[in-house]
């Protein structure tokens, strides 16, 4: 975003564009990324629930992958994933791979 | 009367001295006059000596300091004469109005009043006891001050007292106070 002149600023620093933080792509913070293994997924949605960055995509009530624009790679989703038959549906892998 | 009349009241906390100054200011508003009424503020409580002031003028009153050279000194409690110099700064032609059963001549001597100064007395506490049933001498003192200064007519003062007391007090108390004012007005005497 272009740096603004003082003349262009909203009075009192009020932000009028609610939820515009989505323009800030925090995915760049990530050093590890969650990888989804669909066949192990029970669609319990705990990953969606516990994700601090609202970076788990749910479609029609089912887990549908990650929004890597925002995922900071904390790994809570992988840690909390119950998986299926002892196999986790999410694992973390190093970002550079 | 001069453009501005300055009055100093001497009383004790709880005697209604400040109220008297306020009622007088209110009554003097008529005729487009300018008024001030204010006590000297301190942490004093009931019983402590206090001063209150009035300025009544035909021009805007811009002085916002205590009255230093009063033309009228109203002493609501005569016991103050022994502890407070009520003559301090009084104008050469000042009038003193003292609540006491004593004769004006005696008070005149006690005050050491100057030749141009006049001394009046009124037994305001006795009047208050007989009219209101309590030792609140401020109403008779108001009557006396108005009589001596001629700032407003008695009728006007009575009307104003009724108005300002009417908000808070019963008819019995109001009547008592009106009587007290009237008697103060009538019984004040010069020596």
């Amino acid at each position: 975003m272009k740096a603004k002149s003082w003349r262009e600023l909203p009075p009192g620093a009020v932000i009028l564009d609610a939820g515009n933080a989505r323009e800030v792509k925090t995915g760049s913070w990530r050093t590890f990324r969650p990888v989804w293994v669909e066949e192990n997924c029970s669609h319990c949605l705990f990953c969606w629930l516990f994700c601090p960055d609202m970076a788990v995509i749910v479609k029609d009530g089912k887990m549908a992958g990650f929004d890597y624009d925002y995922c900071k790679g904390c790994g809570i989703c992988a840690f909390e994933c119950p998986g299926k038959k002892g196999k986790k549906a999410i694992f973390m892998e190093e970002e550079s791979k | 009367m001069a453009d501005t009349v300055e009055i100093r009241w001497h009383g004790r906390g709880g005697q209604g001295t400040v109220t008297a100054a306020k009622v007088l200011a209110d009554a003097c508003l008529s005729g487009g006059r300018f008024v001030q009424a204010f006590p000297e503020y301190g942490p004093e409580r009931a019983g402590a000596p206090l001063k209150a002031y009035n300025r009544i003028g035909t021009k805007e009153l811009r002085m916002h300091c205590p009255v230093l050279n009063p033309q009228v000194v109203s002493v609501v409690d005569a016991t103050l004469l022994d502890t407070v110099d009520v003559t301090e700064g009084a104008a050469e032609n000042a009038v003193f109005i003292v609540n006491t059963a004593k004769e004006p001549q005696e008070i005149r001597q006690k005050l050491g009043a100057k030749p141009g100064q006049r001394v009046f007395t009124v037994d305001a506490t006795r009047i208050a006891m007989e009219t209101i049933g309590k030792a609140f001498p401020n109403s008779p003192m108001l009557g006396a001050v108005v009589r001596v200064t001629g700032l407003v007519s008695l009728e006007h003062l009575l009307e104003d007292v009724r108005k300002s007391f009417g908000k808070k007090f019963s008819e019995k108390i109001i009547e008592g106070n009106l009587n007290a004012v009237r008697r103060g007005y009538e019984e004040v005497k010069e020596g």
Partner: protein
């Protein structure tokens, strides 16, 4: 109709607290805010925030992660700032300028709630404003670099209560803020934790349905301050509940109810050993602190159970 407290249903709505906020990876406060708003999303909402991690990271220069009206004015006054908003709402409603039923929620960390904001919170609770105050308790001033607060647990190392050779971390026990607010005799006070999400959301729902001042104290794991991994916030929350370090209960109109009783109460070491801030407690000379810690927990748990039986 309120959205069912089922994840499939809740996930249908776009979250009111959005991505793009700048809280740390794995932040508990983000999860707490998200859960509270998931539970509250059926209502028109207006929020306030005390200065702190959640505030600086969610609303920073031109960008806000809040999709509902939100105000931050200072560190110590989220409760009364929101009380001002809520009062204006009542004034304008009375004049017919607003007709919607708005719910008001304030967020503050333990610094802004237990310490510097306690007076403002107490005032707002006593005056009966119709608002819910949510404290996300991460047990120290994390925003400014992990300084001790009155919510910092006994023995914990912070940057202002370092585990030194003479003093082994914080020597004072936590303030029990939930009880302090309950002593205001407000209609609803509760303690919750994000690991027990359904319990948390039910409490938020219950609170919002009640008119008057409400308070929920929510445990908020902080991997930076607790010296843990970024992926274990929920596990730590679970351990806090299961050791009864962070009992889940509510006080509704003066009646205490424990909302979750662990089948087996785990020893506090299980919670302490997971975190770097307690590492020094496991040296032999500091074992007394762990004993004292356990005694505190036992006493409070005992008290809560007794209090509960008073009304059952």
């Amino acid at each position: 109709m309120a959205t069912e407290l089922k994840l499939k249903e809740l996930a249908k709505k776009e979250p009111l607290f959005t991505s793009g906020h700048r809280l740390c990876a794995g932040c508990g406060a983000a999860i707490v805010a998200k859960m509270v708003l998931l539970a509250a999303a059926d209502y028109p909402l207006v929020l306030a925030n005390a200065t702190g991690c959640l505030e600086v990271a969610s609303c920073i220069q031109d960008y806000t992660a809040w999709r509902v009206p939100w105000i931050h004015s200072a560190f110590e006054n989220a409760a009364v700032t929101l009380a001002g908003v809520e009062t204006m709402y009542r004034a304008l409603k009375k004049k017919g300028k607003i007709d919607r039923e708005i719910k008001f929620i304030a967020f503050g960390g333990d610094g802004g709630t237990y310490d510097i904001g306690l007076q403002s919170l107490s005032g707002a609770m006593e005056r009966g404003h119709d608002l819910l105050y949510v404290c996300y308790d991460n047990g120290a001033y994390m925003n400014t670099g992990i300084q001790r607060s009155s919510a910092t647990p006994l023995g914990a190392e912070t940057t202002t209560s370092p585990a030194g050779s003479a003093i082994p971390g914080k020597l004072q026990r936590r303030k029990n803020l939930t009880r302090i607010i309950a002593a205001h005799n407000v209609p609803y006070v509760a303690q919750a934790a994000p690991s027990h999400w359904a319990d948390l959301m039910k409490k938020v729902r219950k609170a919002l349905a009640i008119k008057g001042p409400k308070f929920i104290n929510i445990l908020s794991p902080c991997n930076r301050g607790w010296r843990t991994r970024t992926d274990d916030a929920i596990m730590l929350s679970r351990l806090a509940v299961e050791t009864c370090y962070w009992p889940l209960y509510e006080v509704e109109n003066g009646v205490t109810k424990i909302t979750f009783k662990p089948k087996e109460k785990k020893p506090v070491e299980e919670f302490l050993k997971t975190q770097g801030r307690f590492k020094h407690l496991f040296k032999p000379e500091n074992e007394w602190i762990i004993r004292q810690f356990q005694e505190e927990i036992d006493r409070e748990w005992e008290r809560l159970q007794k209090e509960e039986t008073l009304y059952s």
